[in-house]
Amino acid sequence: MNRAEPETSNITEMLREWSDGKREALDSLLPLVYDELHRQAARYLRKERPGHTLQTTALIHEAYLKLIDRRDVNWESRMHFFAVAAQAMRQILVDYAKAKHRIKRGGDNIRLSLAETMSVVEGEKGVDLIALDEALNKLDRLDAQQARVVELKYFSGLSLEETAEALHVSRATVGRDWEAARAWLHRELSK
């Protein structure tokens, strides 16, 4: 705990530090974004009726508006923000999955929510986010960019175009990464 503390928790500043390669900046940033996203998600769901298609992107956008000063933010930090948000979003959703897993394992008392009854589409098997999260860590070591693509596209709900923009690469590259990642992850989860 003797590490030097960051001089500021200014978010834009932290984003810049992070993009300059300062890993610690991300560690400070993530929780802030995590919390804001979480709040937005809760707010969103309170307003929307269960079963409504969830627009993850909208959540991130809200969080973005809340956390970032639009006046002096450039395009680049906006993209950085999305990258951070994607990681946070991944963490949030995996946390929810873990919580849900625990409850399913343990409790009989939990009320089956309306959303749950409505979202279970017949015959379709959902994705095990906890297993996916682990597989994604492996993929990260193999190909970090693919992992980022998955975070942005799948966890944050961005389109391929938006993902490409956020990662500063071409749409085609993202398309390739995405398909390969999907195949790779699916294989991992089927093991």
Binding site: T8, R23, P31, L67, R90, I110, K138
Partner: protein, 898 residues
């Protein structure tokens, strides 16, 4: 993963993607071409292609769909009427970043509680959770009136929850929705907040998230600070944790920053530095600023803006937003808001002192406005040299006084001048409300408020209150609430109607005392509890030297206004102050002030003061009574040896009785000494004498009740303690004794009813659990008794040897020998430092079935003439010893019936 794949991954990826874009038939030739005989490469690509075909819609819809139900579940996780453990959920009170709060009913104790469900992510770090719980309990155990009491923490369906006192009311942020608070209300809330912080900081606990949302105001004006230390759960360590950065969210922290509303952060929090007590002071400053101005000190469109402002900008000066705010208060706010914490108030205590002074000045100024205004213009001519009385006032003035409090910015500089003008003449008024004609037969004297600039003369305001209570108690047929009942209102602003209801009285006396130099000014008001109308009020101004006659005068005036016809003798009693010497009287008041602190320091100081009182007036009977009471308390609260103190007490009390045999207090103290010496007949005689002179002193009835209990006269014990309760309805200790008396009479239903009342009075009192434990002991349900005593021990932080003793007994009876022995060890240590008596150890041995040791320890108490030893006649822990001849012998030697 084979190295080959890792090395060739980008190649694999390219080939895979290209192949996937081809028609199936074209794929094989393409792969032949691309892989050029590299089998491993080809196998990997084919494997991915087949996985891709099988994947279908895998990951095509965003991940959030997988957990949407969980997210919505977290909003209002529990529905009404859901049963969780012994709680029944009634409704959702609110939800936020720190979780959801439900109103629930504790079905076991039949009371309402607030249950906070913490967000699941908090649970990911059990160690942090544990520390939070520990801290939350510690702060709750401070039992501070302005800190939310936590009953229990635990897990429900793998969710962490906190059950706490349910506080009805509104938060400061809700209160501020419409308009800023008025000056007095804001200062009142601020002082209570500061008091809570002072207590918490004293225990080494930082709140970390002081803000208007976390301050609750009850309808009666009592403020509760919520969510102590909870912010710690969301703190994040700054610094790197490695690639799985997100785990930082749940990481252990020492330093860190708070996630949440940025608006109330301190600069050091915003910087992610370590926080300390001064952090709370800054956030407190922001809250006070907002209460006074209705605006946040630091605002911004987003968190970053706000943080920037906190770090760099100064808030708009209060005077521009709220011109009524006096300079002194602005100074306090500014000092709390210094960016450099070294320049802030260093302790909540300093802050509280300044706040209280400022509040007193505001209140005083207010009073001046009320009283001086109508008299302006003729003040020069109407100053009455004697300074005591009386300029009639008109009803309209009285009404303006009753209309309450207005705030004008007169400035503190003008105060002194006004003060001199105002106290130059007293006045009184009486106006025609129908209630005035009815006779008042019950009354409560609120603790006089010390409005002087010297906080050290609190003994004077407290003492004058006590003297008035004691004088009025002399009046037959007048029910005067005891000191203990009324002093719980000290420092709080409770309206007359509430007090009237709580204490069941018709009228209330309010008083303020100001001592400036050698001059004493008093304002006394008699208020009808039902209508809240002032029945009468009067100002007095006297040199300190006239203190004694002033007290008599007040007592006489009040009793006259009560329209009670007094006989000549009664009147004499009412007016008697037992000394003509003002200095002696002051020492006496100071002595009682310290005596009431009931701790070692206080009692030692009390002895000095009483000795001074006697020195100034060697014939001052009450001075000797005070001295005797202090010696007895030295044994009870300062662990002094009975053998040394009892003779001293006896000498003092004999002297008092010789000086004034009609003094009820003296006979009561004499009875207490006899009781503690096991001289039962003499004790009873003295108790009876004391009560016959004055039956309005609850303390005497409590002492008398214990006497009966020791003699196993449980009916008499009950009636005495019930009388004490009539006089002192709000005391948890008296309530507990009533319940105990019911248990002894085997009337468990009434005992439970009583216990519920105690819960209302003091929800966190270990007494309740002790009582429950005793009730279970009575039913020989040792398992359940164990649980209750464990709780009592925990709540008393293992300091109370009696609870420990009962618990050790239960452990022994239920075969938990090791636990029992551990408690014996603990008690042994306490015994060595006089913090436990032999009886406490004997009870544990009795539980273990070791009668030999039990009697050895009881005999030790006997040898030391331990005050508490007669308790063995009714404590259930000794039931198993009663058939033993050694028991009969011991009880016989104490002069008690067997």
């Amino acid at each position: 993963m084979p190295t080959i794949i890792r090395e060739k991954w980008s190649e694999i990826k390219e080939i895979f993607y290209a192949a996937s874009q081809l028609e199936p038939a074209e794929r094989a030739p393409f792969l032949d071409e691309s892989c050029k005989g590299d089998d491993a490469l080809r196998r990997e690509v084919e494997s991915l292609l087949s996985s891709s075909r099988a994947a279908g819609n895998f990951m095509q819809d965003p991940a959030i769909g997988e957990v949407a139900d969980s997210i919505s579940d977290e909003i209002g996780k529990f529905h009404a009427n859901k049963i969780l453990h012994h709680y029944k959920i009634l409704k959702l009170l609110g939800a936020g970043g720190m979780g959801e709060v439900y109103l629930a009913e504790d079905m076991r104790l039949e009371r309402k509680v607030a249950i906070k469900i913490l967000p699941a992510r908090f649970a990911q770090d059990p160690e942090r959770m544990r520390r939070f719980v520990q801290e939350a309990k510690a702060v709750s155990a401070l039992n501070h009136p302005n800190i939310l009491t936590i009953y229990e923490t635990g897990e429900i369906e793998e969710t962490n929850y906190i059950a706490s006192e349910y506080v009805e009311g509104e938060t400061v942020s809700e209160r501020l929705l419409d308009e800023p608070m008025n000056l007095k209300a804001a200062l009142d809330v601020a002082a209570q907040m500061a008091s809570a912080l002072q207590a918490a900081h004293g225990a080494g606990i930082i709140h970390r998230d002081v803000k208007p949302d976390n301050v609750m105001i009850r309808p009666d004006g009592v403020v509760k600070l919520l969510d102590f230390g909870i912010a710690k759960l969301t703190e994040v360590r700054s610094g790197s944790i490695g690639s799985e950065a997100a785990t930082a969210i749940a990481a252990h922290t020492q330093t860190g920053m708070i996630i949440g509303t940025a608006n109330y952060m301190s600069p050091e929090q915003a910087r992610g530095k370590e926080v300390d007590a001064r952090t709370d002071i800054f956030s407190f400053g922001l809250t006070l600023y907002e209460m006074l101005s209705g605006k946040r000190a630091f605002e911004g469109e987003n968190a970053m803006d706000v943080i920037g402002a906190i770090l760099q900008k100064e808030p708009i000066q209060l005077r521009h937003l709220a011109p009524i705010v006096p300079q002194e208060i602005e100074r306090i706010v500014n000092k709390a808001l210094r960016k450099d914490r070294e320049e802030r108030y260093q302790t909540a205590k300093d802050l509280l002192v300044d706040l209280r002074n400022a509040r007193q000045d505001v209140e005083f100024q207010d009073k001046l406005e009320r009283t001086a205004a109508p008299l302006q213009g003729h003040s020069d001519t109407q100053i009455d040299d004697s300074g005591t009385r009386n300029i009639p006032k008109t009803a309209s003035n009285a009404e303006s006084a009753a209309a309450g409090i207005k705030h004008r910015n007169l400035g503190f500089a003008a105060l002194g001048v006004l003060l001199l003008a105002a106290i130059g003449f007293g006045y009184w008024f009486l106006f025609d409300h129908s209630s005035n004609s009815k006779q008042i037969d019950s009354i409560a004297v609120m603790p006089f408020v010390n409005e002087g600039d010297d906080a050290n003369v609190e003994y004077l305001s407290d003492g004058m209150t006590e003297t008035l209570i004691s004088s009025l108690s002399q009046i037959p047929k007048l029910n005067v609430k005891s000191r203990a009942s009324v002093f719980r209102y000290k420092g709080k602003e409770t309206d007359a109607a509430t007090i009237g209801k709580q204490l069941n009285v018709q009228a209330i006396v309010y008083g303020t005392v100001i001592q400036r130099g050698q001059e004493l000014a008093l304002h006394i008001e008699l208020v009808d509890a039902e209508t809240e109308n002032a029945l009468w009020s009067s100002d007095y101004k006297q040199p300190m030297a006239n203190l004694v006659s002033l007290q008599s005068e007040i007592a006489r005036d009040v009793s006259q206004k009560l329209k009670i016809k007094l006989s000549g003798a009664d009147e004499k009693n009412v007016e008697k102050n037992y000394t003509e010497n003002a200095e002696a009287y002051q020492f006496y008041l100071r002595g009682r002030y310290f005596w009431n602190k009931r701790n070692e320091d206080g009692i030692k100081k009390a002895i000095e003061e009483f000795q001074q009182a006697i020195e100034h007036d060697p014939n001052y009977a009450l001075g000797y009574v005070g001295l005797a009471d202090s010696y007895i308390f030295m044994v009870e609260f300062a662990d002094a040896a009975a053998s040394e103190m009892v003779p001293k007490a006896r000498t003092a009390i004999d002297r008092a009785l010789k000086l004034d045999d009609s003094l009820s207090e003296a006979h009561a103290s004499s009875a207490l000494i006899y009781r503690n010496q096991w001289h039962w007949a003499e004790a009873e005689q003295e108790f009876k004498r004391a009560v016959s002179i004055n039956s309005n002193n609850p303390t005497e009835h409590i002492w008398f009740s214990v006497y009966f209990r020791n003699k196993r006269q449980f009916d008499d014990a009950l009636s005495e303690i019930k009388r004490a309760q009539e006089l002192d309805p709000l005391s948890p200790v008296v309530g507990a004794n009533v319940a105990y008396a019911y248990v002894l009479k085997n009337d468990l239903i009434s005992a439970v009813e009583q216990s519920k009342k105690i819960i209302e009075l003091d929800p966190s009192s270990p007494l309740i659990y002790e009582l429950l434990g005793i009730a279970y002991l009575k039913q020989k349900n040792y398992q359940q008794a164990t649980v209750e005593f464990e709780k009592a021990v925990e709540l008393s932080k293992r300091t109370d040897s009696r609870y420990l003793s009962s618990l050790g007994y239960c452990y022994g009876v239920t075969g938990r020998r090791a636990d029992s022995l551990a408690i014996l060890k603990e008690l042994n240590e306490k015994y060595a430092s006089n913090k436990a008596n032999g009886q406490n150890l004997a009870a544990v041995y009795a539980g273990l079935g070791d009668k030999e040791q039990a009697f050895i320890w009881l005999e030790r108490d006997f040898d030391r003439r331990s005050f508490g030893l007669p308790e063995i006649t009714w404590r259930f822990a000794f039931d198993n010893l009663r058939a033993d001849p050694r028991y009969t012998d011991l009880v016989g030697r104490m002069g008690l019936p067997q």
